[in-house]
Symmetry: C2
């Protein structure tokens, strides 16, 4: 039986997921709470931590043999428990470890908070939490690390409210893009005229979704601001039912995201077509992206499982918080 | 002194503007009401019409010498007073006249409602009201009508909640695009994370606005979903103040609209650079577009004044509602 060796926290804006891990990285227990950093209980971070992890700490040996704690995500932002300033691209796991900042809990436990990653430039980009998932994916599949010789390195997509696409070369995050796809979809559906003719549907309408993807791909040259209006006009002209409109709009937006990504790839003489990449995220959303990627000629985009806890484990190991192999075999 | 000869109504979703015109088209009086078709008083269309135009009708000779009434805009939609089905592109003033539908008011006055225009296709487009403004602009400046020989015809932009860009050839609306720029701006500002770091500013920040336009033009290849996130990250990295962020985002969106329009033009071997076009809309917004157009090399984009009332007057004249010259000299 594996003994607990690490508490790993994925602490974002709207949720806190805690993992109790063994020294070999196996997940012994998981606890999830809605106490994201924008939704903390009275008592703040400390109380949320106690509510979620107290039972594990109580069951374990007391100080000084306390379980080490690693955390990543918005908990390290300026609005977080303690600010772990961004490390800049190109950023590898070693840079993340060097950027760890600690905070002591009321109980006296030291929480190690990993930093996010910043890419400077005309369009600066930031991530907090995704970098840990990316290193978790690389841990499980080192070949993904991407050599500089390959066009732009390995490509990893993290669909979501703010989707990220990261280029990884020599196991370092070289650069990345943020697409506000999920949040823009919600804003358009709930707060523009497009929502007024929509009916929610319990089932996913794949043809409507793919029609949106194809429209963005083939007729999207005027840009998103122009194509989204077709959600309404296809309805007005009897070509898209009220129930189909949400999935069509979702397809349009994801299609525009992939069209944009393809433009970025084109500038480095590459393309989504025929490319191998990895997705990290919830299954339903990754499935949606996989279907959209096929329309861009990309047929090899599996989802990486357990990226979050693997990434946290790996960073903790590299930081010396646990005795463990720091590189995958 | 010119006698009243026509009541002309620009009746949209959120407002009703009524013009009392002379037989030569001169504006004798104007009345504005918030009784758009989504904001009608008890008593509905009839009451809104009476509230706005009753005083003019009372002052005029009774039936059968009643003042003729022409209307355009959402009043002719399926949610309007009477539905005037869309006429299809290519659509000239004659097609609009042929599509007029009438409704009789409680007072016994006949209101002539002009139809909107529909362009079929993968991305269908519709307009209601803008077609009348476009014909008003052509009435004042017939050379604008655009001969087929010129690349794609004349180009007329109507900035707004749903911005329209119409290509006009031989005085007919050949095709057009709808960009949901204004409404998307509001949805992003008021209902996404981008608004959280913004402070409203009483003054327009031209440098911030133009920075957004330039970013969309020069670094917009990944698309709107990617560039908008820079509103936040430029703030996070101390490069854009909270007060600058609204104008920067506005510049980004208008920049993406013009970038998209430029892509459309590129496919017909044309470009915004060096092009002559016309704008129709409120002065502040047209000024903003003009500044953005300069960044795309377009230095000749004056605003056409009085397009709405001129368009209504012209259609009424063509329909025989008033004795007037139907073609400009």
């Amino acid at each position: 039986m594996t003994l607990p060796a690490l508490i790993a926290l994925d602490w974002g804006t709207t949720s806190l997921r805690a993992y109790l891990l063994g020294s070999d990285g196996v997940v012994l227990d998981t606890r999830t709470s809605s106490a994201g950093i924008m939704n903390l209980p009275a008592g703040g971070f400390d109380q949320a931590f106690e509510d979620t992890c107290g039972v594990w700490l109580d069951a374990h040996a007391p100080l000084p043999a306390q379980l080490p704690v690693i955390a990543a995500g918005m908990v390290g932002s300026a609005q977080g428990w303690v600010e772990a300033p961004y490390v800049e691209t190109p950023a590898g796991a070693d840079e993340l470890v060097a950027g760890i900042v600690t905070v002591k809990t009321a109980r006296g436990v030291t929480v190690h908070v990993a930093p996010g990653v910043l890419e400077k430039g005309t369009l600066p980009n930031v991530m907090r939490g995704e970098e840990t998932q990316i290193f978790g994916a690389l841990f499980g599949e080192p070949a993904l690390g991407g050599s500089a010789g390959k066009s732009g390195g390995a490509l990893i997509g993290l669909p979501g409210t703010h989707a990220k696409w990261a280029f990884v070369t020599d196991e370092r995050i070289e650069r990345f893009y943020t697409f506000m796809t999920g949040e823009t979809f919600s804003a358009l559906r709930d707060h523009t005229i497009l929502g007024r003719t929509m009916h929610p549907s319990a089932t996913h309408d794949e043809p409507a979704f793919l029609r949106g993807v194809d429209t963005a791909r083939d007729a999207g040259q005027a840009g998103l601001l122009a194509t989204i209006f077709s959600t309404r006009t296809l309805g007005l002209t009897g070509q898209l039912s009220a129930e189909q409109q949400p999935d069509y709009l979702s397809g349009l937006l994801i299609g525009h995201e992939l069209r944009g990504l393809n433009e970025v790839l084109a500038r480095q003489q590459s393309s989504l077509a025929g490319r191998t990449l990895r997705l990290i995220g919830n299954d339903a959303l990754c499935k949606r992206y996989r279907a959209a990627l096929v329309r861009f000629g990309c047929h090899d985009a599996p989802t990486v499982a357990h990226a979050t806890e693997r990434g946290l484990y790996r960073i903790a190991a590299l930081a010396g918080l646990i005795a463990a192999p720091v590189r995958a075999a």
